[in-house]
């Protein structure tokens, strides 16, 4: 317990500092991006000079970068991410509405991808001949050669759910890495000795192959969250799924900077938390092994 507190403290400190730094970087980019502070309503010929001035004054509080970011962070800490410029809705409401859709797709996609990758990797290593190895290699090679946007288009053609497309993008990377990790563990001399003694395959896998490969697999779990979230952007945009991936794409197309900044912050926090948890779990497995 004593060792856990400093580790947890360090993790939280790392999470907070990375979030603040990441947010500050995105705020800097937003603040100095071309066209910042201009409002298309200023071009409305029906408005008189005083209305245009009022619109310009509405942006005047965003003058200095530190002030702009400070206010943004203070409001975000209270759950207020501001208003989306393109959708004219509170960003926190949009995130609350869209995040569960993406999380469900990502989690289901990861589950399918992990199950398929693990099952194929284990089968290809333990089965004799090429019956599982070759299809797995060919399928992963083919899927690796497809951009995630094309996978999304195929899922539209086939009327497949979004999570299937996310699984198709995540699977090849997981399959190759899982197979390599298990292959390395299988090549250890003690596994050869166990085989020579006639120990069953299941027992060899559970006692001698899986434990040494587990830390690597758990670390891969953290990375797969990042891969799945990355693929969610084009997939949701092209499959017209109302998640944060589609929201990010529409924000990018409409140059909705406050929305992009908030989504960047949210995705940063999610991926950092999942990576930290995976790293901790991996080190636990390593110690146990």
């Amino acid at each position: 317990m004593k060792n856990w507190l400093p580790t947890l403290g360090r993790r939280l400190l790392w999470l907070a500092s990375v979030t603040i730094l990441g947010g500050f970087l995105s705020a800097t980019l937003v603040r100095y991006s071309p066209g910042y502070g201009t409002d298309e309503r200023e071009l409305d010929f029906r408005l008189n000079q005083s209305s245009v001035e009022a619109i310009r004054n509405g942006h005047s509080h965003e003058g200095s970068l530190v002030g702009f970011y400070g206010k943004y962070l203070f409001a975000a800490a209270h759950g207020d991410f501001g208003i989306s410029e393109s959708l004219q809705q509170p960003i926190s409401g949009l995130i609350k509405e869209r995040l569960p859709v993406t999380l469900r797709s990502v989690l289901l996609g990861m589950f399918v991808a992990w199950s398929a990758a693990f099952a194929l990797a284990v089968s290809s290593l333990f089965s004799r001949g090429w019956i599982f190895g070759l299809p797995g290699t060919l399928l992963s090679g083919f899927l690796l050669a497809l951009p995630s946007a094309v996978v999304a288009l195929f899922s539209v053609y086939l009327r497949a759910p979004v999570f299937v497309a996310i699984a198709a993008v995540t699977f090849p990377r997981l399959f190759r890495y899982t197979r390599n990790l298990l292959k390395d563990a299988l090549a250890q001399p003690h596994v050869l000795a166990a085989r020579a003694r006639g120990i069953g395959r299941t027992r060899i896998f559970l006692r001698h192959v899986f434990p040494p490969a587990a830390p690597g697999l758990v670390a891969l779990l953290g990375i797969s969250v990042s891969i799945a979230f990355g693929s969610a952007v084009p997939i949701e945009a092209l499959c017209d799924s109302a998640g944060i991936g589609q929201l990010a794409w529409s924000a990018a197309m409409n140059r909705d900077m406050p929305l992009i900044m908030s989504l960047t912050l949210v995705v940063t926090v999610i991926t950092i938390i999942s990576n930290s948890l995976a790293a901790d779990a991996a080190s636990l497995f390593k110690r146990a092994a």
């Binding site: 090679g141 951009p147 693929s231 140059r255 995705v267």
Partner: protein, 269 residues
């Protein structure tokens, strides 16, 4: 067997690169010339792969698009490898605070999905830029942001070199910094840097394709594989004109060729 596959892959890539370079001679049409009376035309003697929905010759667009994707992705990969190499060597050899800061920066960069960052950054730049500028911006962003995963590999190798006996011996003999770098460090890192360079190329080709398909990469009328694949969004048109899959087939072939010529794990270490 592996050698044969590599030779075949290199031959295919060389053929495609030559065709792309000689696009002006291979096809008589410009990539932006419209035959307004021939939208979505089937392959014919005049248009070997037919035309797109705007009546532009598909073969010309594919060849010029190959030029953009096939030559700029290696440039972006080179940029990434140089950045990863410089930062990885600094972190691995100097250690201490340099190492911590550089690795933290890499962790921060890797925490966010690259496509997400690229979309956010691309959106912060004007969307209505000239096509040539959009090409430069897209590949520059790829080159500048793709380094973190390569950095980890280079850093690990550089750290091993730092702890090696030959470097200790060189230092104890009073060998200068420049000589250590160019006689001991870079020759040992060369296979790893080369592997990272080759790995990055197909990755950047695919990322550019995704960005362009989302309308945030290379802008029309400049062709790239991503732009060309946007034609697949119209399901009914593609069903009736299966030759519109040609850019996709080409893309898959090129990526598989790059994967085939990647040095194996043993060769790169």
């Amino acid at each position: 067997m592996r050698k044969t596959v590599q030779i075949v892959a290199v031959s295919i890539l060389c053929c495609l690169a030559t065709l792309a370079l000689c696009a002006g001679w291979v096809t008589p049409y410009s990539y932006s010339h419209q035959f307004r009376e021939l939208p979505n035309a089937a392959p014919s003697a005049n248009h070997l792969l037919g035309t797109d929905s705007l009546g532009r010759d598909l073969l010309s667009r594919i060849l010029y698009g190959t030029r953009v994707s096939l030559f700029l992705a290696p440039l972006a990969a080179l940029m990434t490898t140089i950045i990863a190499g410089a930062l990885g060597v600094t972190a691995g050899l100097l250690g201490g605070w340099y190492e911590r800061i550089i690795l933290s920066l890499a962790d921060l960069s890797m925490a966010l999905p690259l496509v997400f960052v690229l979309i956010a950054l691309r959106a912060m730049l004007p969307l209505d830029v000239a096509p040539a500028v959009s090409v430069a911006v897209t590949f520059l962003l790829l080159g500048l942001l793709g380094w973190p995963s390569s950095l980890r590999v280079v850093w690990a190798a550089a750290r091993n070199i730092r702890e090696s006996d030959y470097l200790l011996l060189a230092r104890s003999h009073g060998t200068g910094f420049g000589r250590i770098m160019f006689r001991h460090v870079f020759p040992n890192l060369r296979p790893i840097l080369l592997a990272q360079f080759w790995i990055s190329i197909p990755f950047f080709v695919l990322t550019e394709t995704t960005l362009s398909m989302l309308g945030l990469g290379v802008m029309e009328p400049m062709p790239s594989w991503g732009n060309l694949l946007r034609g697949l969004e119209n399901v009914s048109a593609v069903g009736a004109n299966p030759w519109k899959f040609t850019p996709l087939v080409l893309l898959i072939l090129v990526v598989i060729c790059f994967q085939a010529i990647l040095p194996s794990q043993e060769e790169s270490t």
